[in-house]
Symmetry: C2
Subunit: 762 residues, 2 copies
């Protein structure tokens, strides 16, 4: 744990007291989003201290020209970057001619931030003395509307405490923004039109190269003592920004309020030449509803989300706050309404890992959305990859693969690869496996088989072709080997026969063959269409069978475990517990070669295979592998603790499972990885949900049935969650005494609890 | 072979006919240098076609801030770059007001370049019609003086052919130059003073960050029909450049000549505040001597170099031209007079591989300079590394090594590492072995043991400490293993137990132990000093013994060969001969992962060990390894063919040895690697010399004696070379009939020819 200033609270994040050194961290933690856009918790008024400004629009990216030290054939020419979008939240404030700027204020009191996760709003309040000695009280409340997802609203209240004052509000929108993460200091945005109309203003811009057209807009209203004031603002604009000025004389103790609505209309959702009109329309709608009306809708929308996705924990407030923070951020990032979107590792909270989609979506996020939303949302995430199949085939062709072999990108916005380290881009190919696995996982959970003949089978064929071409026959071993890969553990590069990769490759081949059979039997028209389209031959499937049957897996007889890769046992096998604490995290202290030749594991690798394919192994085997690998695991990936928590729970090691749970759920709140300033770890938050539902709750789907093996950490009195399983809403409550299962709706359902069947009905 | 426009000639490079598409290639091939400076064969007059401008000053570099896609701990902050220096060769020419620019001329006839290697000058001549229809004949002759190494001289002759004309010569110097190889488009030079004095001009500049101070200067003289003309030029200067204008009316058929002297004085050789004075002094000297006097000295200086270093080949003009080109370029790059300098892979012919020193110096260049110059020159190259020992220790510390372990940099200007690919910088550590090997090689050849107690032993201790810390004990193999390295074959990265690296590491440990003993016995005072300085303990040397005794070497019983690294036999072992020609060179066609998992070898790796440690293996063993590895070798490193040529000759495969010889000697002339435009491959040129002397001549030093096993390719009638061996100059002449050995000077010498002793006397 590297910070602990966030106050424990079951439903809110609360920071008390102002600390300049915490501003960037809090900007990440108090981020808000509504799936269509999001923003860091930057101040509305100007702030001259260190800050990391960020507003993001879902799906709006820029292909930044790749910059590397040494070019390698096959590197993508562009790296798609999440773009810092025009700022609409800005409200400069002057009091008697002096700007309000917390960095220049004295006597800052009662500084408080609250991110109310239950209701979906963020509030910042403080009292401060500005350089001209006027003391003001400020309360700024902000949210991004779920009901009108192009709009956010801000209520900015000021009360002069010690004197009458002339207050000037200067709400503005500004397209003169930059990205911190830029390779060539390119200009990412081009602004074409700046318009000001009474209380409203608009900036029309488009992104360079990708040409996403965006209209950024604002509308402001002034209130004095709660009464709307019809002051007409003066307006000032330049090529990139436009601002209004509301000047108002305020008595000592009197409250003056600016309500500002703002946001973006985007040509993904409107005709490109009607963006300003669309902005006007949405502003007409929301101003009619008003700030409080909109906030009421916000509370209702969040209540609906929580109704289904909440996990309530009693007796452990930090654990409670952690899981809710994770669930809240996941829902802020992706709402499941748009199959063109996906879940970026930092959501709308930072620029790093500029691409939108990693294998995190398939390996970690789909189970969460599938269980807390519905199968349609999960299906949209699968369809996203189907839509990118052609690009995945092109990507494989760039690396020399042929005949429809598909390699999904490590990082992508639009299906093209946009990551550029050879050891990752070219070699961390296990990502292909996770994409196939998600199809299996979806089908198993939902029993919706239609996805496979409609779309999934083509994806499976492309992936199988890739694996078959990627292995080679080793005369030496008389087996198929897979050379030069990077497994999930990125602290190894260019290894041979990574067990996880070989295993998932073999599984992909077998699963593709099995689905081919199934589709042939049951969906003959689809089968015909797919065979014609893919030109799949029996020679090919024959090869798939051969490769699957003769895949090589490194194994140690001595230890009775599969080896993470060839040569693992040659390492100096000193356990993590024996490392000098001062050298942790090793990725901040050791040179790369030292990390690579060490036995230390960044995140579950062999154990990731045991997680995905739990049914293929006995509990004894799991235990043996867990005991062999976990002691070498440094958990320096945000995706590591959750898998280990699930497995520790399965092995009845509840204390260890609980420790891993806390680490995954409070990773950002407590800043375990010393990098929260850059943004949050969104995708691993879905892993936190798994730790509870699959770990403690022991939820699985086996042989078509939903199963539980309920456990509870001794620190907790009770926890409960809901699951949408094949359109039944199941409520699970687990206490130290036992477990209770209800279904809220739908047909009766037989589940297995600790392997015993129970039939639930509504 | 990718080009063949260079005319075969025993002593010159000749290009005939003007081709714009060849300009950049010829700028590389016709480069001139004198060890202290060098330049590409750019035109003196302005040229608006594609060109790559380059003038370089030995030892003047810039630490460019490292730019990588993804930072890794341990990367050097800076990458030292060879700097393009201010241009002193420029002579703009106007004829009747129209500029002479070959890109705009019509009717270009008799265009000819000659690089006269025998005499050390470069001439370009042509007849052309400029856009105003005046036809001119131009002859431009240029050289960089060996006798006054701060100066070069140009004679630029113009004759109007079809009309009288007003000719304006505008000699200039210009510090407004840029580097093509720049990470951040930094300004590398700052110019502080621009001075013009009658026929002379000076620009004082310093490099940013490194603050090398340089005075660029010029002096011009005008001649009409060979008679000096005392026209006073007009002068024009700005912040970065200064030019003079000489206007002269010339009759049709009359020759007008500008002689220009120029160059650099540098604060490495003069007080920083006296650079202009030093420039004036050297100009006074050379103008007194005059262009023809200076050229005469140039011929004499080159005659002296060739007297010792020439290899004459009869019956094969292309082979002859190739070896002389190689020897010429080596002597242009490094003259052995300054122990602060070293041999950059591109010499003074381009910017790429911006650092000055690679392991190429120790592995390839030292034998050439040792045999064709003298032991002092070789000793200077060794001392260069001794001077950098502290930096090598710091470099190792940055990677986590301790207690005086030294890791020499992969690329360096001043001892600091300045390369930034993890797989090279951190892992291609075999370079340390070559540095130790050079000490052994020097001592063996010269019998000068004094270097070891004076300097070398400290280097050997640092290197031995590194190897001992770099290996780890494998419980699995009960051997010391070395994980995560890149061998000489850079088409493998992060491999385990690279045989070459393990072998040279073991050898370094044993050699260091042996030298420690020897110094202790014979130089007790030095021993005491060194032990006190290095704090070397018996525990440490005990560990060295243990590691050397228990080092692991991958070996295949089936093939009877040492394996290049663990897992080599798992590859798909298709020979190079069976590859599609269209996919060669593979580094221009394949993605990096495909190269890595292929069996293809960029340059001698296991065979490099057999080259260095020939005596440790039988000829049978060499043959077995050559036959196993060469068929997988693509020779895409310039350093590859020479070693294979030496070994093929040893195995009596003369046809193959000859093919490799041609490839190494004409690598740039024939542009085998399709990249000659970027500059020449200087360090591999020393390998070409090895191919003849060690390959065909079979020269070795064994048990303190010089040995030969003379062979001759069937294409050759005769070849001869000289060797400085322990202060005797030995002349070796080999014909199809036999071999002849003479010594020109010094004490009688017993040599072995085909293992039979012969005593030679002067």
């Amino acid at each position: 744990m590297n910070q602990d200033y966030i106050q424990p609270h079951p439903w809110s994040l609360i920071e008390e007291g102002f600390g300049k050194e915490r501003v960037k961290s809090s900007e990440s933690l108090f981020s808000i989003g509504n799936g269509a856009m999001g923003q860091r918790a930057n101040f509305e008024e100007s702030y001259s201290g260190p800050t990391f400004q960020g507003s993001y629009i879902a799906g709006v990216y820029y292909p930044d020209k790749t910059r590397v030290g040494w070019w390698k054939n096959g590197y993508p020419e562009y790296f798609a970057k999440v773009l810092n979008a025009p700022n609409w939240i800005g409200i400069d404030v002057e009091i008697n001619g002096t700007p309000l700027d917390l960095a220049t204020c004295s006597n800052i009191k009662n500084f408080r931030r609250e991110l109310n996760m239950k209701e979906g709003w963020y509030q910042r309040s403080f009292t401060a003395t500005i350089p001209n000695n006027i003391e003001v009280e400020v309360v700024a409340t902000r949210f991004l509307s779920l009901s009108h997802d192009e709009v956010g609203a801000i209520k900015f209240e000021i009360t002069p405490i010690n004197s009458d004052a002339s207050v000037v509000f200067k709400p503005y929108i500004d397209a003169g923004i930059t990205n911190e993460d830029s390779n060539w200091d390119d200009k990412f945005w081009n602004t074409t039109k700046v318009t000001s109309e009474k209380n409203r203003a608009f900036i029309e811009s488009h992104t360079m190269k990708t040409n996403f057209k965006v209209c950024t807009f604002m509308h402001s209203e002034l209130f004095l003592d709660g009464n709307k004031s019809e002051i007409n603002p003066t307006s000032k604009k330049d090529e990139l920004s436009v601002g209004h000025s509301y000047v108002v004389d305020v008595k000592k103790g009197q409250e003056v309020t600016l309500v500002k609505y703002g946001g973006y209309t985007v040509d993904r959702n409107h005709p490109a030449d009607k963006l300003q009109k669309a902005a006007n329309n949405v502003l007409d709608k929301v101003t009619m509803v008003g700030f409080h009306g909109l906030l009421q809708k916000q509370k209702e929308a969040w209540a609906q989300i929580w109704e289904m996705s909440d996990i309530a924990i009693e007796g452990d407030i930090k654990a409670q706050q952690g899981i809710r923070f994770n669930i809240f951020q996941l829902n802020q990032t992706y709402t499941g309404t748009d199959s063109r979107l996906n879940i970026g590792p930092k959501g709308f909270t930072g620029e790093k890992y500029g691409g939108s989609t990693y294998w995190d979506t398939e390996a970690y996020c789909i189970p969460f959305y599938m269980a807390t939303k519905n199968q349609e949302v999960a299906r949209k995430l699968l369809k996203y990859r189907y839509n990118h199949l052609e690009k995945a085939i092109e990507n494989a062709e760039k690396l020399g693969f042929k005949n429809g072999a598909a390699l999904y990108p490590m990082v992508t916005m639009n299906g093209e690869e946009c990551h550029n380290e050879w050891e990752i881009t070219f070699e961390e190919i296990h990502r292909n496996g996770a994409i196939a696995y998600a199809i299996y996982n979806y089908t198993r959970y939902t029993e919706d088989y239609s996805y496979v003949p409609e779309m999934g089978l083509e994806v499976l064929i492309g992936i199988a072709r890739f694996w078959q071409q990627r292995v080679n026959w080793s005369e030496n071993r008389k087996k198929y080997v897979m050379l030069g890969v990077t497994g999930p553990n990125e602290y190894e590069n260019n290894v041979h026969n990574n067990w996880y990769t070989n295993y998932i490759a073999k599984w992909c081949l077998e699963y593709a063959l099995e689905q081919l059979d199934h589709v042939q039997q049951n969906y003959p028209a689809d089968y015909k269409r797919i065979i014609e389209k893919t030109k799949l031959t029996n020679d090919e499937t024959g090869l798939w069978k051969k490769v699957a049957a003769h895949m090589y897996f490194p194994y140690s007889e001595e230890h009775g475990v599969y080896l993470q890769q060839d040569g693992f046992l040659d390492k100096d096998l000193v356990r993590v517990a024996n490392l000098d604490r001062k050298e942790r995290p090793i990725n901040q202290h050791w040179s790369w070669d030292r990390i690579l030749r060490s036995p230390y594991i960044k995140q579950a690798d062999t154990l990731q295979g045991f997680y995905f394919f739990e049914d293929h192994f006995t509990v004894d085997e799991l235990e043996k592998h867990f005991d062999f690998y976990e002691p070498f695991t440094v958990h320096e990936s945000s995706l590591s603790p959750c898998v280990h928590s699930v497995q520790a729970a399965k092995l009845n090691r509840m204390e260890q499972a609980y420790t891993f749970y806390l680490r995954t759920s409070r990773l950002d709140l407590d800043d375990y990885n010393k990098e929260v300033e850059e943004g949050l770890h969104i995708t691993s938050m879905a892993g936190t949900w798994m730790s509870i539902v699959e770990g403690f709750g022991g939820m699985r789907v086996k042989d078509g049935k939903l199963c539980f093996a309920p456990k509870i950490p001794e620190q907790w009195e009770k926890y409960s969650f809901k699951i949408n399983f094949r359109d039944r809403i199941l409520k699970v409550t687990i206490t130290q005494e036992g477990a209770n299962f209800d279904i809220d709706a739908g047909e009766p359902l037989e589940i297995l609890v600790n392997e015993k069947p129970i039939t639930l009905s509504a």
